[in-house]
Amino acid sequence: MPKITIDGKELEFKEGQTVIEVASENGIYIPHFCWHPELSISGNCRMCLTEIEKIPKLAIACSTYATDGMVVKTQSESVVKAREAVMEFILINHPLDCPICDEAGECKLQDYAFRYSRGESRMLEEKQHKPKRVPLGPRVMYDAERCIMCSRCIRFADEVAKNPQLTFIQRGDRTFVSVFPDEEFDDPYSMNTVDICPVGALTSRDFRFKSRVWEMSNTPSVCIGCSRGCNVNVWVRDNVIQRLTPRENPDVNKYWMCDFGRTKTFKFVNAETRVDGPFIKENNELVKSNWEEALNLTAKRLKKFKPDETAFVASAFATVEDNHSFALLAKLLNAKYYSYFSYVIPGSGDDILITEDKAPNALGAELVKFKANGVSNDLDEIFEKIKLGEIKAVYILEQAHDFDSYMLDALAKAEFVAVHATNFNRLTEFADVVFPASSFAEKHGSFLNVDGILQRIKPAVATVELDRALDGLAQSRWDKFGTKFDRWAQGKKYDAEPSWKIISALAAKLGKPFNFSTSEEVLIDLTSKNSAFRNLDYNEIGGTGIKIIERKFSEEEKI
């Protein structure tokens, strides 16, 4: 293999790699603004200038291809000086409005000003003025004074979103980013430009001025907007989700997520419609109850129906663990009807990330569903029989989207309907018992995405059962240092529990406890029952998931 020496370290590289790629693979950080691993090389910021033996001028590491025997210095005096000069150039016309900039705290320019800049500006003249607060589209706001013209946003639109809606206009230090006349930047992936913008020139109109970056805690999780399961970070302040941002995962979403996922998949967590504590129906009205009463009532009612009078409707919105314990409950009651509801909108997918299946775990619900001789898994048949009055009790796991009206009409005929729900919706109106389910942001669990990759979610928002500090949730500065009297450190906590936990409690009431005390134990229970889950635990799934559908097992490993 050819070798290159960077800062005295001899490193192997693959033909066709650039210096910056070899460096970053080997943990040598070469500062850069315009280079991005998923975008074409543009070489405009000049921040990655390095000294290369046998090349007379300083060369940019992003566009210089590594060759055998090349010797690169990234810390020499001339490189340090050149970087300081580039930083000075960028800063002379930068408005330095960090105190009111959303990017502050996660800004490359701030970080580099701290690390690579001389600190003193030699420019005495008036800065260049340009348009500020320009809505480029419905979700992205632009500040041309903050923009450093790295062209990342333009290249993203051209190359990743394949929708060239952005361009530079004007020249020289009058240049700024713009859309074409009478057009707007409304691409379904537009907000990724906010993430890759190295400065605060592009901001999310959904998140603008909501929070300082350092006031939020940040928890790795997975988007529930569709079966792609883009990896995300969940940002929380005051125990309320402020925003989602994509988290790098080369096998799933690279660095991206769609605007729908980013803005429309978390607000239900703190919506007014949230189910806060168990509810039971009295005189045709759902009234607030308590766990003991709701569990007792449900156990008592379920016991009264025969197996062929009971149907279980699992959920593509709930985790693998929730669905597995649900299947165990169905087995415990010998149910003859078990299916799950999935939500597919034909034609709504694209060839970038968005899939047609609008639930995060249809594959998981399918894989762990309750199957046995004489058990029907046909959803249409189940609702037909509910309508005919043959099925009398229906137990429904979390459903994020409303059922079709023919299903709701059928449910009106059932004698007993139990529902796990995060929010009140049309379905809960038909329920005799509503259990408050923890949302994806309030529990551990796993989802199986469209490609058969099993991925973990983690709690980011505290509930009554889940303490931020004691249960190891991510904490922001305010969470750590705020006192009881600080309003922000408290926040609203809902009385909700993960479905697997509610089901375990119900099993205990039915006299056959499951003995699960954590979500992970539910998953581990699966490992001996379903070969796809063999040898798995949360550690094994890790931060970026594990492909389990095509996982090949050696002979001895097979069950």
Partner: protein, 446 residues
């Protein structure tokens, strides 16, 4: 001396006159040769590019793939936007058919079937002239498919004029290609070089108008003839565009290596009022200026000028007499590069504007000697750190004007000025101010 580019033949711009004077014989000859033979002759002639960088033309052609797997292109650069440069225009007007003949030979040498002549939009009249010349040559079967019959070969090429829309940067070869492709005139990061990855990703050669116009004569008279004219390492003639304080400004075709003083005093008629020369920019506004008291013995060819601390550029000689205010000159030049920076890369985008601002402040009487050092430093921080050579073009005049005429610039600045400045410090880490020197108002102290 025989002139290669602009011979003194009346009505040479008429096709019949051009043909009567031996026109298209070179094309006929070249089209019977292998492309590699043509390249070889041009290589041996040591013809160097007339567009500014002085690169060896034959060598440049030889970078094109020998085996053609994709379309090849030839771009002829007639953007001519460098202040002080006005020579290619003469060719469009006075000798367009020799340019067209050169294009045919060059296109054959690099196997390009499509040729674009990129001309600045402001040259509207000259574009019309050249288009008329092209049309005529199409009619005579010198271009297009009919070439095959006329010249009895398998090769033919088509030639299109592309009008620029008013940006100096589109004369830079890669920005020129982007412009032809209909994109923003942004220079491309090199590598890849045009010969591998040019127009629409295909092998492309870019040559200046004057460069190409030399080619027919080299083929007709042989490389030995050409190589023997002027300076051995930079042979041939150059079109020197002389402007500024001379009695007879204009374009003079002279052998390379001609003395600068000879051009100014003999050909351009000397300085009006017999004034002394303060400064000469020898190759277009971006080249380092020379002191008037150091012109003796400077020869006008690439190597001699490099030794003298400047460069041949496009051969645009700008003469400034002793009464010239060099600060005003520098402000004007800096304004040009600030205005024309494409804005793609950081040092040039930000630096060109900054330099102009400092210079204008000095002009307004608010500059100090420190500002002169600052200007030189800013220029040095641009130089060699940019995507294209416009960065250097903007930096050199500032850097060399100030260092070579420091005595004069010191007269424009004061010892001390008081300028109210806010927000001078943006990070405390490496600030040159010691913390004690930063006086905070009482009330903000903890």
């Amino acid at each position: 001396m025989e002139k290669i580019i602009l011979p003194d033949i009346p009505d040479l711009n008429k096709l019949d006159v051009y043909i009567a004077n031996g026109g298209f014989q070179a094309a006929k000859k070249a089209l019977q040769m292998e492309p590699s033979e043509v390249i070889d002759i041009v290589k041996k002639s040591s013809l160097r590019g007339r567009g500014g960088a002085g690169f060896f033309t034959g060598l440049k052609w030889s970078f094109m793939p020998k085996v053609k797997t994709k379309p090849h292109y030839l771009c002829v650069n007639g953007d001519e936007s460098e202040p002080g440069s006005f020579k290619d225009r003469q060719i469009f007007e006075k000798n367009p058919h020799q340019l067209i003949e050169g294009i045919i030979i060059a296109a054959h040498a690099i196997q390009a079937q499509t040729v674009y002549i990129y001309i600045r939009g402001e040259y509207y009249r000259w574009i019309q002239m050249l288009q008329a010349a092209l049309d005529e040559n199409y009619e005579r079967g010198h271009l297009g498919e009919k070439m095959k019959q006329t010249f009895n070969t398998d090769f033919y090429c088509d030639v299109y004029i592309h009008r620029g829309a008013g940006a100096y940067i589109c004369g830079e070869e890669s920005a020129l290609m982007n412009s032809i492709e209909g994109k923003r005139g942004y220079p491309r990061v090199k590598p890849p070089f045009p010969a591998q990855n040019g127009l629409w990703g295909n092998p492309t050669t870019i040559n200046n108008v004057e460069t190409i116009t030399n080619v027919p004569k080299i083929i007709a008279n042989g490389w030995e003839w050409f190589a023997s004219i002027g300076a051995p390492k930079h042979p041939g003639t150059l079109l020197f565009g002389v402007s500024g304080h001379v009695n007879k400004p204009g374009v003079y075709e002279l052998p390379t290596g001609t003395l600068l003083t000879d051009i100014i005093y003999n050909y351009a008629g000397g300085v009006p009022g017999n004034k002394k020369i303060k400064c000469v920019i020898p190759g277009g506004s971006s080249m380092p200026p020379l002191r008037g008291d150091q012109l003796e013995g400077i020869k006008m060819d690439a190597d001699s000028l490099r030794e003298a601390g400047s460069a041949i550029g496009t051969g645009g000689i700008m003469v400034m007499d002793e009464d010239t205010n060099l600060l005003d000159v520098l402000v004007r030049i800096s304004h040009f590069y600030h205005h024309e920076s494409c804005g793609q890369c950081t040092p040039c985008r930000e630096g060109t504007g900054w330099m102009e601002k400092i210079l204008r402040r000095i002009q307004s009487g608010q500059g100090t000697s420190k500002d002169l050092d600052l200007l030189v430093d800013v220029a040095s921080n641009i130089e060699g750190r940019t995507v294209c050579a416009l960065g250097d073009a903007a930096a050199w005049p500032v850097k060399f004007m100030i260092t070579r005429f420091r005595d004069e610039f010191e007269k424009y600045v004061k010892k001390e000025v008081v300028i109210p400045v806010k927000n001078k410090i943006h990070s405390m880490k490496y600030t040159t101010y010691s913390v004690e020197n930063i006086k905070l108002p009482e009330s903000t102290k903890p």
